[in-house]
């Protein structure tokens, strides 16, 4: 499964919405319920599903899904 598809699955689970289709340009303004509190759930879920950890500094740089994808991709490199 493509990385974006795997991440989309996490988004659907976290936001309880089967119609979510993320793109690299997706931001919090595109998804109902993506606020600062649900963002914590999202990050914890991504870290768990992908077996990675984000640093606090990295989290502050995420402006959209594309930034998240790049960060996840870099951490999954063998």
């Amino acid at each position: 499964m493509e990385l974006q598809d795997r991440l989309n699955k996490v988004f659907r689970e976290v936001f309880d919405e089967d119609d979510i289709n993320i793109t690299p340009g997706t931001t919090a303004n595109d998804i109902d319920g993506w606020d600062s509190l649900s963002h914590v759930n999202l990050i914890v879920a991504i870290e768990t599903k992908f077996g990675i950890r984000f640093s606090q500094k990295e989290l502050l740089t995420f402006k959209n899904v594309g930034d998240m994808l790049n960060s996840i991709r870099s951490k999954l490199k063998p």
Partner: protein, 541 residues
């Protein structure tokens, strides 16, 4: 001074729309809608009157009448305002729900209220569909972003509005007619429906004028969601009853976008919350360079105590003080506040506003003098006072003793008459201005298969004021894991709300209870804070 009651018409929907048109403000901008994607649309008071009247006629054609209950379950969008005011014009009762509410929170509120209708968005329909079977009285669901009706009872708002007549005038409405319904959490039991009446407009209007100091030339921005009493009292009723232009922004917190908005829209009075202000304080100081906020006259705050360092930061960075205000869902409007013209005592709640008599009262009923801590109470009878907890007269009556309403907060009054918040007298958690019931979260946690027992407390937090901390005891056959943490987080978020999601989860061997089985949250709180738990003689072995 603007007279808002004409010919004894107290109808909030009428006062906020038609009356403003009759005052000659029909062409004036009632609100500039700014979407999350920065699209901007202006709605005049004539637009607000027409759209809300159309919604009134829709509700009437669906069989809604005086006293029927309609809820909105929406993020901040223009339809929120049209539906809210349209329902009130018809003398229906309008309840507002946070769009982050989960299944259980929806059922508790709609079920208790016996709601007849709900206005929502397509993306939230899935939640409603899951619980619809538990809501036999819910006859209609109106969806704002579908073009055609889905069925006889799941209807398209645009389709209804296309055919609706705007020929509607609110019936003469007496001041004691029920109007707005907000649910508030209790430390035990289900959330309570706080019911207000149309008379509340008197106090909301007065405080918008005297505390927020709104005048006809102001551009007002209240950041509160309409699920919150601030969002209806001061995001709708107070300012529009005075014909004030508002800005409503559909996006979430974003420091740069917020500053852009304040500057570009020339906002003159801004009402926000301490958590948002603390988030702004944490931003890089360079962000504030180059912004010209000369239009901004006043900043106000509400929701939880505003710490003095935020006021110092605002003075240094924004060149403005922040006036902290205090009220509750039950009070319907600002009761105690700092305000222009009154010296700010940073960290204090300020002084009671005109017409409000506050007192500090001891457990034995003695009214205490300055410097002594006790229950913060208000002399009953102010215009925006709630008239009941829906279906719960017993709890309502327990809130009143000797003509005083007991707020559940504890406070001290100093010798100059300023009030200082000290805490809650119950276990309610105030996280980012939202009151959360530990009971609701504990109930949700117990529904997770792996969880045997749970206790939830609020713990001090530098950003949120209080954070939700859950103590969880697992069934013996299960082990704690990161996957289980995600499962618990998402379960609570989707069942109750994202606001109720524990910020910390501590795995423990048992939950302290007294001999009658009640969770001893003060013991959990003391353990978490490393403090002495005090008397634990009633704790079960």
């Amino acid at each position: 001074m603007t007279c808002i009651i004409v010919h004894e018409q107290y109808n909030i929907g009428h006062i906020c729309t038609r009356l403003q048109c009759e005052r000659g403000l029909g062409a004036k901008t009632a609100f500039r809608w700014i979407s999350a994607h920065q699209e901007r649309v202006d709605y005049s008071f004539a637009d607000l009157d027409r759209e809300s009247s159309k919604f009134s006629t829709i509700l009437r054609s669906l069989g809604f009448a005086r006293g029927d209950i309609l809820f909105t379950f929406l993020p901040k969008i223009p339809e929120q305002f049209f539906c809210f005011l349209g329902a009130l014009k018809l003398q229906a009762i309008c309840g507002t729900l946070f769009s982050s509410f989960g299944d259980e929170a929806i059922v508790d509120r709609l079920g208790d209220a016996g709601a007849k209708g709900l206005v929502t968005k397509k993306s939230l329909l899935k939640k409603i569909a899951r619980v619809r079977g538990q809501l036999p009285q819910l006859k209609y669901i109106i969806v704002v972003d579908i073009e055609e009706h889905i069925s006889d009872d799941v209807l398209s708002y645009p389709a209804l509005m296309r055919k609706a007549s705007s020929d509607f005038t609110a019936p003469l409405t007496a001041p004691d007619t029920p109007s707005v319904l907000h649910y508030t959490s209790g430390s035990t039991g289900k959330p309570k429906g706080v019911l207000h009446v149309h008379r509340s407009v008197l106090h909301q209007s007065r405080t918008a004028r005297e505390v927020l100091q709104l005048t006809g030339s102001d551009i007002f921005w209240c950041t509160a969601d309409q699920g919150w009493v601030t969002g209806t009292a001061y995001g709708i009723i107070g300012p529009w009853s005075l014909g004030i232009t508002q800005v409503h922004y559909g996006g979430g917190y974003d420091a740069k976008l917020w500053l852009d908005l304040l500057e570009r829209e020339a906002v003159t009075v801004w009402y926000s919350a301490p958590t948002a202000l603390r988030m702004l304080m944490r931003e890089d100081a360079k962000l504030y360079m180059g912004y010209k906020l000369g239009s901004l006259r006043h900043i106000f705050s509400v929701g939880e105590p505003l710490n003095p360092e935020v006021i110092s930061w605002a003075r240094a960075t924004l060149g403005k003080s922040i006036y902290d205000t205090w009220f509750q869902t039950e009070t319907g409007g600002i009761m105690i506040s700092n305000r222009p013209g009154l010296e700010i005592r940073p960290g204090s709640m300020g002084k009671p506003v005109n017409g409000i008599e506050a007192a500090i009262i001891a457990d034995n009923g003695e009214v205490l003098g300055s410097g002594r801590q006790g229950a913060l109470c208000l002399k009953s009878g102010w215009p925006s006072m709630f008239i009941s907890y829906l279906n719960n007269d017993t709890i309502y009556n327990q809130k009143f003793h000797h003509e005083y309403y007991h707020t559940g907060d504890t406070a001290v009054r100093d010798s100059d008459g300023y009030y200082w918040f000290k805490g809650r007298s119950d276990d309610i958690i105030n996280t980012a201005g939202h009151l959360i019931s530990p009971f609701e979260i504990e109930s949700a946690l117990l529904e997770v298969e792996e969880v045997a027992e749970a206790g939830v407390i609020g713990a001090p937090d530098a950003l949120l004021f209080e954070k939700v901390v859950a103590f969880v005891c697992l069934h013996k056959q299960y082990d704690w894991s990161k996957e289980l943490e995600v499962k618990i987080r998402l379960y609570v978020s989707n069942k109750v709300s994202s606001m109720a999601t524990p910020q910390e989860i501590a795995i423990v061997d048992s939950i302290p209870k007294n001999k009658s089985g009640k969770i001893m949250r003060r013991v959990l709180r003391a353990r978490y804070l490393g403090q002495d738990a005090g008397d634990i003689s009633t704790m079960e072995d």
